[in-house]
Subunit: 130 residues, 2 copies
DNA sequence: ATACAACTTAGAGCTGACTTCAAGTCAAGA
DNA sequence: TCTTGACTTGAAGTCAGCTCTAAGTTGTAT
């Protein structure tokens, strides 16, 4: 798979894919003899995982550290798990705080619904009895 | 209330408060005759609201537009509501996507739990029957 | 063979959201 | 009154995370 195909498959720019690879987020992308990227299933799996984690807001730096540990093999399993557990905690807190903001937004919108409705009723009454 | 007190009350830097005011996110901050900010309750209310919305990820630009409409009075109520409704939709989608990433993170962590447990069992067996 | 799109790299540039700086003003305590 | 620290401004700097550019190479269709 070329970089363009991968970029279309996952909805991410080819530039970003190259950037991710350069910063160590996507290991072992195969190349053709001419030096052109030729993603296999493993590489695609990494791309998908990294996109998902970036979407969750894990910093590029943290992911790059995680991938480095992966490459070092089994002995780093505990450390890798710890990274994910920490990031999960932060993610949970973020989701909670977003839900709180969502509540507030809902409340505000409700308020607008009320005042807009009220204004429309007033307008209608004005028309009915001039 | 001085800018410092407000900054401590809401856990945001004085620099950020000035920046928000300059970009139109916080209207009508009163000043002392000497030109020093002296936040009243209304201004604090705005600060709190803006921090909450920024936390939800609403862009500074959108909030500045919203505040501008607020200043223009009642006639902009519908437009303001529409801004909030749009932003709410985006927020809902973001929360959903974060929850999906959280699921994936949980799955991954579970997997680590298993392999780490397995490794520890193997290690223990190795000690028990050498 | 030749055109032409898609690929390669290093490195510069952009965006959003602050954050810091420089140079000066204000205000409360000794 | 003088010092000290908090405040003021506009402008420049920083940071993460891309995004674009330039100059050159690869690969495919005619």
């Amino acid at each position: 798979m070329t970089i363009k195909q991968v970029s279309e498959k996952y909805g991410i720019s080819a530039d970003t894919l190259r950037y991710y690879e350069k910063t160590g987020l996507i290991p072992d992308v195969p190349r053709t003899p001419g030096g052109i990227r030729d993603y296999d299933e493993t590489a695609c799996g990494w791309v998908e995982f990294i996109i998902c984690m970036r979407n969750a807001g894990l910093p590029v730096e943290v992911l790059s550290k995680y991938v480095e540990l992966c490459k070092q093999g089994d002995s780093t399993a505990k450390e890798r798990k710890q990274i994910l557990v920490n990031q999960r905690q932060q993610l949970i807190e973020k989701i909670e705080s977003l839900n709180a903001s969502l509540d507030r937004l809902n409340f505000k919108i409700n308020y607008y619904d009320e005042i807009i409705l009220k204004k429309e009723r007033e307008l209608k009454n004005g028309i009915e009895k001039p």
